[in-house]
């Protein structure tokens, strides 16, 4: 307990300076803006802004990127409630009751409860993160390459369970991400893999170019397919502070959402989107009158909004403690740390306690800044919905190009970015989710290293994974999850089969 408090104190000391606070503020501002504007998801925003953080110290870089992620979660609820268009995927369920409340003239209460619920859940998540993460790191230090290998495989398998579409397509995406990660020189043997005799590919493909292409460029290509449509904000916002009866109805859903969101965020492959959907389903099931959900129940806003913010906090635990990103966003944060020369994992708390605790402290500060930004400035955010997309998208294209170039100062990266943009846009059309590809791309170098180390240290080859209890347990968990995926898919009947 004492160690945690002193570590956290050190973390606050590291970030409570004007420069870091400025970047957290900018991150919160950009994140909220991204969340408010439908069409640009948090992943696109994070990938576009990743290069701008390269020159910053690691703590500041992660603090800013985390603030963008948090901000987009907060901001996403604004458009969901006011115009029935989710700013990002985790706010989809907020539309159901949030927009209904707005139509009843209670937009202010919905917006206020969304912001306050998010703040409470975010803070809850960070407090648990403080205690849970160091304990997990202490445990993880004892793990060897086979256990790490098992953990990473589990992370990838969980992604298949969590994706919305076809598990088989998820499998293809994981394979493709792993294949892209092997491009370039093999660090162990020095052999060149799939470089097609080009000098540019000898160092592989840059993560910045890959993610900006897959999430930034692909998003724009998908958006320009449709004719531009204006967004009309007609709702009156009214009083933002929820009434006593709103609080009475919401405090339990907020607590439940916080707990559920935290648990879902911990699971590799889980994240804010799954958390918000599960919370909505849970609230509806527990309600005295489930049929009233979708017609303006404040519980339908409070629970999911709390759940998605708690999931953001708990998603940091596998990243900081094990060095394993649970979803595409934390994979990007991991990429940012690696670009800054910091390897996340159990040794992070030992080797870089300032970074470990600084990141946690920055989450606290970011949450407070977001609450201040969200409630009083809601009118300003609404005005931003009127920025025409025809101006926004070309600017993002230019930003993507300059951002990609500035990460490595290599023109070839721009071609990589464009190629991955076209690939991502094409894959999305056929229901291929891109998150497993990015996750596999980030995890594969570590997975390959652990796999090789495990096989080298084992006299019995691959049997080492069954001889070590933790590794065997993790692989057994993978098998159970794959079985679950098969059972879940078999529940969907073929044409002509009885339902």
């Amino acid at each position: 307990m004492e160690g945690i408090l002193s570590g956290l104190g050190g973390g606050f000391a590291a970030i409570l300076n004007l420069s870091t606070l400025y970047y957290i503020f900018i991150g919160s501002l950009i994140g909220t803006l991204i969340g408010v504007l439908p069409g640009i998801g948090p992943l696109a925003a994070l990938s576009l802004l990743l290069p701008t953080t390269v020159a910053l110290p690691p703590v500041v870089s992660i603090a800013m990127l985390s603030a963008i992620f948090y901000g987009s979660m907060y901001g996403g609820s604004i458009t969901s409630i006011l115009v029935n268009i989710p700013g990002e995927a985790a706010s989809v369920v907020t539309c159901l009751d949030g927009y209904a409340m707005a139509r009843q003239g209670r937009a202010g209460a919905a917006l206020g409860m969304a912001a306050l619920g998010s703040f409470i859940a975010g803070t809850f998540g960070i407090v648990i993160l403080c205690f849970f993460s160091p304990a997990l790191s202490t445990f993880a230090i004892r793990l060897g390459p086979p256990e790490y290998c098992g953990l990473m495989v589990l992370g990838l398998v969980c992604t298949i369970l969590m994706i919305q579409g076809s598990a088989l397509k998820g499998m293809v995406m994981i394979g493709l991400g792993a294949a892209f990660a092997t491009l370039g020189m093999d660090a162990v043997t020095g052999e060149f893999r799939f470089t097609f005799n080009t000098i540019e590919l000898t160092a592989g493909v840059e993560i910045v170019a890959v993610v900006i292409g897959l999430f930034g460029v692909a998003e724009i290509l998908a958006n320009v397919e449709q004719s531009e449509a204006g967004i009309a904000v007609k709702m009156k916002i009214g009083k933002l502070w929820p009434t006593r009866s709103d609080w009475k109805a919401s405090w339990k859903p907020i607590l439940r959402g916080s707990g559920l969101g935290f648990a879902v965020g911990l699971v590799p492959g889980g994240g804010p989107v799954t958390a918000s959907f599960l919370s909505y389903a849970a609230e509806r099931r527990m309600a005295d009158d489930p049929s009233s959900f979708g017609k303006g129940r404040i519980e339908g806003v409070a629970g999911p909004e709390a759940a998605n913010n708690a999931a953001v906090s708990s998603g940091m635990i596998p990243l900081l403690s094990l060095g394993i990103p649970g979803n595409a966003v934390t994979a990007l944060l991991m990429g940012a740390l690696i670009i800054n020369g910091v390897q996340p994992g159990p040794m992070l708390i030992v080797e870089h306690p300032d970074i470990f605790w600084g990141v946690i402290a920055s989450l606290y500060v970011g949450n407070v800044i977001l609450l201040i930004l969200n409630l009083p400035l809601v009118g300003l955010w609404v005005q931003l919905l009127r920025v025409p997309y025809s101006i926004l998208f070309p600017t993002i294209v230019l930003l993507a190009m300059v951002g990609t170039y500035s990460a490595n100062r290599n023109i070839f990266d721009l071609w990589v970015m464009l190629s991955f943009g076209v690939l991502g846009w094409f894959l999305r059309k056929f229901g291929y989710e891109l998150a497993p590809l990015v996750l596999a791309f980030v995890l594969s170098p570590l997975l390959e290293q652990s796999l090789r180390q495990s096989l080298v240290m084992s006299p019995d080859g691959a049997m080492i994974f069954l001889q070590r209890p933790v590794a065997a347990g993790l692989l057994a968990a993978c098998a159970v999850i794959l079985l679950l995926v098969v059972v879940r898919r078999r529940a969907i009947p073929l044409p002509g089969e009885p339902t």
């Binding site: 579409g165 076809s166 294949a179 290509l221 059309k429 044409p495």
Partner: protein, 158 residues
């Protein structure tokens, strides 16, 4: 797009086979430990298995979409979608090609109005040029001036 979806699945099967064959050629390992081709082979197996599974699933359903699989109904949602996407890719490629010769600021200032007109043809050329120049100047200021990133310069010195 069930036909195209089957085609994409078939592509993964063939891609997985080709990648697997290339991985074996790299070497799977020996007494010194695993070789360079072992991990790519595992990736190839995943791609092959996923593609083959999707292909079989599509064939079993006689091309009918799998419930819950978010495949878009039509490749192009609107008649002009293909032109907009094609032009956007073309302008971006031209901008990337021009960057080493014209620099980012000038390529952006020329490319942005073209992108604007591609996305929103109702914009007048004058407005497109104005917005393009302002946006290119803002991005240049952010990266080259504020963040100090050394960006390629053009004949005008920026």
């Amino acid at each position: 797009m069930p036909g195209l979806d089957v085609g994409v699945s078939l592509f993964w099967v063939l891609f997985g086979l080709a990648l697997g064959q290339q991985s074996i050629a790299l070497g799977l390992g020996g007494p010194g430990g695993p070789g360079s081709g072992m991990f790519p082979l595992l990736a190839a197996l995943l791609i092959f298995a996923g593609g083959a599974g999707s292909l079989v699933q599509s064939l079993l359903r006689h091309g009918a979409p799998v419930p819950g699989d978010p495949v878009e109904e039509r490749f192009w949602p609107e008649p002009r979608s293909a032109m907009r996407v094609g032009l956007l890719i073309l302008v971006m490629a031209a901008m990337i090609f021009a960057v080493p010769y014209l620099g980012f600021a000038l390529s952006g200032a020329i490319g942005m109005p073209l992108l604007l007109r591609t996305i929103a043809p109702h914009f007048s050329w004058w407005l497109a040029v104005l917005v393009g120049v302002i946006a290119a100047a803002c991005v240049h200021l952010l990266f080259a001036v504020l963040l100090g990133t050394p960006l390629p310069r053009g004949p005008l010195g920026f």
